[in-house]
Each structure stands twice: as structure tokens, then as C-alpha cells.
């Protein structure tokens, strides 16, 4: 009897192992071949001499890492992190109500609404950015509208400043926030809200105590998907912001292309990876342990 239970348990564990393997292997193998192996070359490049016309000379050096002591690069990194953070918060403030709205509609409307929000992003990125120039410029849509309503006497400077950059970045990254938020909000049982209200909680309390905690994972996922790529963003700040400040993305791009210094480009990429990845992993560790403690 005891033996039978044991073998049963053993096969169950084996089956679980097999399931786990089936689930994990395709993605891991794919990423190993087409991401990790190429990434190893980036690691290798970072300790080699630059080639005159790009590429590398096969000679070991640590000088590429020594360049990091130049405070200029840390200033640029700090600014990129700050801009990414700002973008994330702004996206959350716009995206949460939108995702909430979609998720609280009757089920037959949700997918349609979701698509309506995403479809604009299937048009070409560059043409969309050009459209923002047309909207924000001195004789653009906004200024013409405001002055025809006699709200302003002279055109506002909306282009080539941080306002334009923020607008452009929020516009570009909104789907990255809305989609994960929608994914968690959609399962939300809005009957729960009525129940809470019947128990005397007002809407604000219901939202803070019930809705927000239950969608925390969506908020985290959306924020990560906005924040992380935004750190490397530079095309939007260049075109709408006037390219007067340097972003981390510019630095890396310039090393690989204009300066033809692939090793230093690799070093900068590694720095970005380390600085962004470590806090995220720590967060997940802490969250996991909290879960266990509960």
C-alpha cells in the first residue's frame, strides 16, 4: 500500500517535471540560440580592441571599461533613467483609466475597444512622429485652434522641448502599458465592487483596497514594459525634443555606427543591462518571499 502511494507520488512528480520541461524548453532553446549566444559575443567584444572600420581586433584590453570612469556617461545614463521613469508614470496615469474603462464594458465590446486602442500603432512610426510635429509646431493644429478661440495671442512653443518629448514618448509607449493592465483588469469581477459598496465602502476605498491590489501585477508588468525600453529610447527625443540632450540610446547607437567603436558600444550595453536588470530581479525575489511568508 505504502509503496503504491510512493510510486504514485513519484510518477506524479515525474509528470510535473515533464510538463515543466515541455513548457520551458521551446522558449529557452530559442532564446539560447538566438539571444544568449549572440549576447556572449557582446561580452567578448567588450574586452577587445576596436577595429579601425568597426568590428574588433582580437586583442585583450580593459580600456573600454576604464572609459566608464568619465562622469559624462553617468550624467547621460541618469538623464535617460529619469526620462524613462517620467514616461512610465505618465503612461500609467493615462493607461490605467483607459484599461479600466475597457475592462468594465460588457464582454462583447472589450476586444473591439482594445483593438481600437492598438490599431493606431500599426501605422508607421516615423509618419506618426511627423504628425506630432504638424500638431505641435508654431502654426500647428494646437496653436491655430487656441488662437482662433482667442485663448492665446502668440503661438506657444510646444516643439523642441521636454513637453514635446513627453507627449511623444507617452504616445509611443502607451500600448505597452495598456495591454498588460487590461490583461489583469479584464478578469476583475465588477460584481465585487457592488458587494463592497453594499458593505458600505465608498468607491475610493473600494478602488484603493480592492481593485488596486488585485491589479498590482498588471501595473508592475506594464511599468516594466514601458520603463525598460524607454531607457534606451532616443529617436523620439531627437526628432521632437531637438536632439539637444544626449540619451543612453544615442550613445550606444553612435558607438556602433558613427564612432565605429563596437567594444565600447558593448560595454555601454552591458552597463545598461546590469543597472536595469538587478533592481528588477531583486524586486521579484522580494515579492516571491513575501508571497511565501503569507
Amino acid at each position: 500500500m505504502f509503496n503504491r502511494i510512493q510510486t504514485h507520488l513519484a510518477t506524479a512528480t515525474n509528470r510535473r517535471r515533464l510538463n515543466l520541461a515541455v513548457l520551458v524548453i521551446p522558449a529557452t532553446v530559442w532564446l539560447f540560440f538566438f539571444f544568449v549566444l549572440p549576447l556572449f559575443m557582446v561580452l567578448l567584444y567588450s574586452v577587445l580592441e576596436r577595429g579601425t572600420y568597426g568590428g574588433v581586433e582580437w586583442q585583450f584590453t580593459l580600456s573600454n571599461y576604464e572609459r566608464l570612469f568619465n562622469p559624462i556617461y553617468w550624467g547621460v545614463l541618469g538623464r535617460s533613467l529619469w526620462l524613462a521613469l517620467f514616461t512610465t508614470v505618465a503612461c500609467l496615469l493615462v493607461g490605467y483609466p483607459l484599461a479600466f474603462f475597457i475592462a468594465s464594458r460588457p464582454p462583447q465590446w472589450r476586444n473591439t475597444l482594445l483593438l481600437l486602442v492598438i490599431i493606431p500603432f500599426w501605422t508607421n512610426f516615423l509618419v506618426r512622429i511627423y504628425a506630432w510635429i504638424i500638431i505641435l509646431r508654431q502654426e500647428g493644429v494646437i496653436n491655430v485652434l487656441l488662437s482662433s478661440l482667442h485663448l492665446i495671442n502668440q503661438p506657444l512653443d510646444l516643439l523642441f522641448n521636454s513637453f514635446a518629448v513627453t507627449v511623444g514618448l507617452v504616445y509611443g509607449y502607451l500600448p505597452f502599458m495598456i495591454l498588460p493592465l487590461y490583461a489583469t483588469l479584464e478578469r476583475f469581477d465588477f460584481a465585487l465592487l457592488d458587494a463592497a459598496q453594499d458593505l458600505g465602502a465608498n468607491d475610493l476605498k473600494t478602488f484603493v483596497r480592492i481593485v488596486l491590489p488585485l491589479t498590482l501585477r498588471g501595473i508592475v508588468a506594464g511599468s516594466l514594459l514601458v520603463f525598460i525600453p524607454a531607457v534606451g529610447e532616443f529617436i523620439t527625443p531627437d526628432i521632437l525634443g531637438g536632439a539637444k540632450t544626449l540619451m543612453m540610446g544615442n550613445l550606444v547607437q553612435n558607438q556602433f555606427l558613427g564612432a565605429r567603436h563596437w567594444p565600447f558600444g558593448s560595454v555601454l550595453s552591458i552597463v545598461m543591462i546590469v543597472i536595469v536588470l538587478i533592481p528588477i530581479l531583486i524586486y521579484f525575489r522580494v515579492a516571491d518571499e513575501k508571497l511565501k511568508a503569507n
Binding site: A243, K244, G258, A259
Partner: protein, 360 residues
């Protein structure tokens, strides 16, 4: 659940139907196949009169596959690890030198390109490709100043004038470290190909000192901003400004009196080309006076094809435009950007410092 599935299936159908239609076209989607009847051109988008391609396809019974890139730097990085199968590329002057030095270009057989005699000798045997061993000129142009005469209220004639404080917030510089620092070096009476860090630093300091005039560093969009009236003056490549001039009569282009940077884009055959014979036929075809004229009339850059100019095939208004075809005196003031090898980094580092100094 079922509804969702229907939804997804419909969506996938929407994506697949157009794909299904084109998957039949025989050669495009078979990258592994070597087809001697295909000529693969790698160039900027729309940088050619489409009729020229059609005409070549018909005359030589060949299919042209046209792919596109956006910058010389990107082109160089792309073909450096190995040519994925292009027969013709169009690198700019200094990049020809670098690519040839790395063995990325295949020497041309001049016997197959008799039309080389049509080219203006001023564009042959250049410092970047002595004896035209690897390349022949395709189009040429300058970096200069585009301006809106209504907004400036005066003709612009020099680089120094552009940095006048009265144009505060009205100037778009070019987001290109080599070209922008190069023209400022020329304005300061220096060599744009200098590798003296002190001279490059002087150019950076000059821009920082006049940072109030700078509205933006435009990544090749200066002509649009000029057209929209967002800036009064823009440093831009000549052909870009001419496109706006066709539509906006207030826009003018000038090669500043201090001189400027000249460039040629060149046809070359990368090593590992699948169809080099056809590529040489194509190069020879482009050098026909009629064909060369057709392209220049379409893209609004200068034609190096002397025969085309002499036979009166180039549009007259272009020929009389000193911005496209400058006088010999002006032409002598023009300098090529040269391949600097490892020293390109000096310009990039200087650009980083410039941005940091301006950015705060």
C-alpha cells in the same frame, strides 16, 4: 471563448490573405537561391527614377531586386561581416575609401564600363578612390544653408552670418557629427578632416558659444522644418532643400562663401556579389547621358555626367541653379570629407561633449 477564436482567426486571415497572394511571385521569397537573372541593388529608398529601373529590366531581360538602407554607417556595419548577396551598393565618398581598405569592394573592370568617358573629370580619380578602381560617381551634392528669405529678411551668404544672435531659436543644425563639425571647421578656416583634437574642440566651443541660435539638431528633417516655418535657417544637404524650393518660393539654398563639404554617392560592387557582370552592365547603363540626366532631374542632386550636361539633357532650371551646379570658383572651395579610420571617434566624442555642454 468561441467568439474569441473566431476573432483571432479572422485577424490571422486578414494578415495572411495579402501574404498568400504574393508568396507565388517566384524569386523574392527564396533568399537562398542564386538566380543569375536577378540584379540586387542596395540603395536609399526612392533615390532613383523608377523608369530607369524598368528600362534596365527590359533592355537586359533581368529582374531588379531593390532593397534600402538609411545611412552609410548602417550600410558599413551591415556588409562588414559578409555581403548577404547585393550586387550594387551606393556608398558616399569617404565610405568608399574605408570599404575598399577592408576589401569589401570588388575592383571594377573598366573595359566593361566604356561610358566612364561621359563623367566629368572633376569627379574622377578622386582622393577617396584613385583611378576609380572601385567606384563610379552616381550623384553629388553639398552641405549648405537653406533659408526662408521672408523669415530672415536678408540673403544668407556665410556660415558666420547664420550664427548671428538675431536668429536666436531659429536655426536647425544637422544631426551629423562629421558634417556639422566639418562645416564649422571650414567656417573657422580649418581643415574639415583635421584630427587635431584642439581644432575639433574649437569647433565644438564655437557652437556652444552660439547655442542660443540653435532650435534643434535635425536628423535630416531640416527641410521640412524650413517649409513649415518652424525654423528660418537650416543646415541641410543640397537636394533636400531643392525639393522644398520646388513647392515653396521663399526658400533658398546657398553654398556659404567660406566653402563647404562636398560629397558624391558612388556605385560600387561589394565583394561576394552574385551577379557582378550584370552589376557592371548596370553601372555602364547609369552612365548613359540620358539615364544619368533622368535620375538627376528626378532626385534633384547634381549629375557628374558631363555628357548629359553638354547634350542639354539636364533640366534647365537645375543647371542654372548655382546651388546645384556652382561656379568653378565656388567649386574650388569645396572639400571632401575623408575617411579618418580610427579617428572618426574624435568627432563622435566631440559631439558627445557638445551635447552635454548644450543640454543642461
Amino acid at each position: 471563448m468561441k467568439r474569441l477564436l473566431v476573432f483571432v482567426l479572422l485577424f490571422l486571415f486578414g494578415v495572411m490573405i495579402p501574404v498568400g497572394c504574393t508568396a507565388d511571385s517566384p524569386d523574392t521569397r527564396n533568399p537562398g537561391r542564386t538566380d543569375t537573372n536577378v540584379l540586387s541593388i542596395y540603395n536609399w529608398s526612392t533615390y532613383i527614377d523608377p523608369d530607369v529601373i524598368t528600362q534596365f529590366e527590359q533592355e537586359y531581360d533581368v529582374r531588379v531586386q531593390y532593397d534600402t538602407y538609411e545611412s552609410n554607417d548602417a550600410l558599413l556595419a551591415k556588409i562588414q561581416p559578409g555581403n548577404p548577396g547585393y550586387d550594387i551598393i551606393v556608398p558616399t565618398s569617404d565610405f568608399v575609401e574605408g570599404m575598399a581598405a577592408q576589401g569589401l569592394l570588388k575592383p571594377l573592370n573598366h573595359d566593361n564600363i566604356p561610358n566612364l568617358v561621359n563623367v566629368d573629370p572633376a569627379f574622377l580619380d578622386t582622393p577617396f578612390d584613385p583611378g576609380n578602381e572601385y567606384s563610379v560617381p552616381y550623384q553629388w551634392g553639398t552641405a549648405g544653408i537653406g533659408y526662408n528669405i521672408e523669415a530672415t529678411g536678408e540673403e544668407i551668404t556665410s556660415w558666420a552670418q547664420m550664427f548671428d544672435p538675431k536668429f536666436a531659436g531659429k536655426v536647425a543644425l544637422l544631426e551629423d557629427s562629421r558634417a556639422m563639425l566639418g562645416v564649422v571647421l571650414i567656417a573657422l578656416g580649418k581643415n574639415p578632416n583635421t584630427t587635431d583634437p584642439a581644432e575639433i574642440k574649437a569647433a565644438v566651443d564655437y557652437i556652444v558659444e552660439h547655442k542660443d541660435v540653435v532650435a534643434t539638431f535635425a536628423p535630416d528633417t531640416g527641410q521640412d522644418l524650413l517649409d513649415q516655418g518652424e525654423v528660418a535657417i537650416a543646415v541641410e544637404w543640397s537636394g533636400d532643400v531643392f525639393q522644398v524650393m520646388e513647392e515653396n518660393e521663399n526658400i533658398r539654398y546657398v553654398i556659404p562663401e567660406e566653402g563647404t563639404i562636398v560629397w558624391t554617392d558612388n556605385l560600387a560592387i561589394p565583394t561576394g556579389a552574385r551577379n557582378p557582370e550584370m552589376a557592371e552592365k548596370f553601372i555602364n547603363f547609369i552612365l548613359e547621358p540620358e539615364i544619368g540626366a533622368k535620375i538627376s532631374n528626378y532626385v534633384k542632386f547634381g549629375s557628374p555626367n558631363k555628357a548629359a550636361i553638354e547634350q542639354g539633357l539636364i533640366a534647365e532650371e537645375d543647371l542654372n541653379n548655382p546651388g546645384i551646379y556652382p561656379s568653378p570658383e565656388t567649386f574650388n572651395n569645396l572639400e571632401y570629407a575623408q575617411e579618418l579610420g580610427g579617428d572618426t571617434q574624435l568627432f563622435d566624442d566631440a559631439w558627445t561633449e557638445l551635447k552635454v555642454a548644450i543640454g543642461q
